[in-house]
Amino acid sequence: MSDPARTNLQEGAPKSAPRSAAPEEPPEEHPSKASGEAQERASECLPEHVPDTAPEVVQMRPERMPRSWREETKPHPFCPGCGHGIILRALGEAIDDLGIAARTVYGCDIGCSLLSWNLFNLDTVQTHHGRTIPVIVGMKRARPDLVGIAYMGDGGAYAIGAQHLVSAAIRNEKITVIVCNNTVYAMTGGQLAPTTLSGQKTTTTPYGRDPLETGLPVSGPELVTCIRTEGVYAARGTVANFRQLKLFIKRALENQMAGRGLSFVEALSTCPTNWRTSPKETWHFLEHEMGKAFKIGEFTRGKAEGQERREGRLSSPAEAGIPRGGNEGAGANH
């Protein structure tokens, strides 16, 4: 890759989730088994540049929970079939691999993500709905030696807390944001989320999401990448591909640790409770429906701040040759 900051979606996306789940495959009875199965085919799902680094990070301990998980609070309280546990396992293993448990602070949002408040053997804080980013920003700015993780759902990231995500990208905050995208507000009863698919039935779109009325699903990593690429890491993984998701999360943590900038990972996830789906339907929705709507891969992999483009940077309108109050002349006509 001559330019690592460039998106590799063109190469990565078509190979990802939709292709890997052939319709004739027998449905998995349990998501954790399914994710194990997904691991085996992970390498073929990874974007082009990944395999050369993949072997060193693949250290699955299927029979053991991550060291950074807290045994005393297991089993975790998420519903059967929920994807949160898979994402948080990927995060836990990434933290273990990087050996950063002693300096990591973990913040969780309100929504199902709040249930992770005591899941880790990490210092953690539960915040308010949508407000995890500013809390972690405050901690990180006060203690730059800490590794700050903000974990939230799609509602917290893209609806009630959208201004914080946008501003964190604008300011290039040196934190890691992980978003669980399950297309619904799960804890409050399965309402329309910013990520709900077109036509998807929720409790507040009982006849399906009509894009004319409520728009199309938001694309989080793409949004972040639109705001900024320099220093930013942005990727979308899926609980259907554990190894890839873990790799993305690990890279997001490394990008923060290198002080480059905002590190953002969205994980496509499952919510059979609110989707009201069987295990087979759940997996089909994740891999086929969501896989069609959301591209899997890395969108930008960060670049040192010093490499920022400098052109166009002017310190004042006067320097730019723009007259102050630049409407003279036109004013007489109004």
Binding site: W117, N118, V125, Q126, V137, K140, Q163
Partner: protein, 373 residues
Amino acid sequence: MRVVEREQRRFMTGNEVVAWAALAAGADMMCGYPITPQNEIMHTWAVLAKEHGLGFLQTEDELSAGFATIGAVMAGRKAFSATAGPGNVLMQEPISMAEMMRIPAVWIIQQRGGPSTATVIYSQQEVRLTCLGGNGEGHRIVYSTSSHQDLFDYTIKAFSTAWRTRFPTFVLGDGYQGKMLEALTLYNPEDRGVPLALPEPFVGKPGTPGLDRPPAHFRNTFSIEDELYEVLTRNIRDYEEVTPSVVEFEKDGCEDAEVVLVAHGIVSRAAREAAEMLRARGVRAGYFRPITLRPFPATALANAARRADWLLVVESAYGQLAGLVREGLYGQSAADVRTYLKPGVGISAEEIVDAVEREASSGEQRHGSKTAT
């Protein structure tokens, strides 16, 4: 942080005073969002922070400012924010989290007119919001200042009180105080023996969580009523315990007073002057100023009003202080509580004297509230 070589008189705006006081108190982080009339706190802090290597973050809104302040406090910083009016409304969300989780953050509120955008100038209409905002019945400490010296003294004190009690603490000023130039004495707290609390991190302490020490887990969500009740009961007990060491007031001439003028903040200066003017005219007038609006000095006020026939509550709001007074005195005092209310408008000593004389001459109109026209 030594802010001056030795004590010195200075002439500056109240907003500048607050920033200097925060520096003197050892504050090391401010997060804020522009809103008048508190902006110069941020402006001054931004300069001081650069000079002294301290933290400053201008955020995208007051929600972010408040939550980032909480994050900085949890990381072990003496952090604060400042806001006003509609910003104070947004700020109540992070403040309620600070109440539940006992985060010793400090907020400076420079009151402006309301409701809505109203005026950027002045009011005392944010008393209820600042004392009682937020959902649930959170606990907080609110100092109401009346002068630039107060702003300096109580901003320093707010940090100490917050970290000592672990309740979020407020300095409630107003736009007049923020924007006005006034003389005050700047000093280093340590030179006067003023105790400065040492901050302590909530997260990121030495050692690996789960190995060397238990992980620090902080939450504000509870699964069942009893869990919440336990936490609230502890908070209520703690608040009641610290109240005697926190509550503050000022009074003058109440011992033989037939009427006690009650006012807080900058209006208390007019009330004190009015009491002196009334004394000169032969009216036995006293003066009482709650400095902490929460906890409210109810017993002290009841004692001050023991000999009085009536009280006149004077405020630049429509009965917010009067509400605190009535609630505080209920069952403790037989004195009649009357009001002189000018929501969002300043009040002079002469007006108060006139109001007292008018009320005294219409003595049969008891139990009624008077509103200025």
